[in-house]
Amino acid sequence: MDTAAGVEACLPITSDMDLVWVRQHVRQAAAQLGFGLVDQTKLVTAASELARNTLVHGGGGRIEVTALTDGPVPGLRLTFRDEGPGIADLDRALTDGYTSGDGLGMGLGGARRLVHEFAIDSAPGAGTTVTVTSWVARPPRPRGEA
């Protein structure tokens, strides 16, 4: 049973339309691996946020979709890469930008809450790589943040 087939992919993020393809692919991959509806929605929404960041702030890039297993539990890993200007103040970028209502918030803090694992690698002039992972039907771990 090759669960990776049809799930794994490397897609470009260079236009508005690419955001739609990214969402559709992640949705299909998550469904195929057995994610529940709410988890699928969270993952696809996170992908949408991060892909848009890649496009708008990173000047375009790509997403790598990988299927994982942790023992019997399937998982999905999404890696967003760009060669853009990078993020100078990571801490600030990870706190919510929504309350200011400008909608230009980087979306990173929010996206982080939608996935199980989140890692970001970025520096000015060195591009940005964001890697998120979610696992199927794992009970959510308690989040201590307010």
């Binding site: 929605t41 949408s48 929010g110």
Partner: protein, 139 residues
Amino acid sequence: MTGGFPQHAAGHVPVLRLGDVLLVTLQGDLHDSAAEQLQQDIGEAIAAHRSRGVVIDVSGVEIVDSFLGRVLAEIAAKAELLAAQTVVAGMRPAVAITMVELGLTLPGLRTALTAEEAVRGFGGTDPVLRTARTRLGSP
């Protein structure tokens, strides 16, 4: 766009007129430029028809990210400036849960369980709509 046949250009979302209420039905995946075009279309339609209300049916929407959330908030803000009330109707549970987790609670945006209920609400003194927290001016 007046009541009658909606025009379907690529990704174009039709704006229907039902009396003095506009009905917009969002389906599936809306890409960014179509969303922005919609904002413009709604503004023009409100002005052209002196609409009192805009109902945005999101029952077919599977994903609302921060971009779409901002679009909805902007549509509502713009409509209010033009003396029209906006109601977002039919949000799916999975979408609502995700939006809240994302931090996108859209306070101040009026909501309803269904588009039908939202449209009815503009019609008169339906107590149901009062509880859905739509301020409609004089009951």
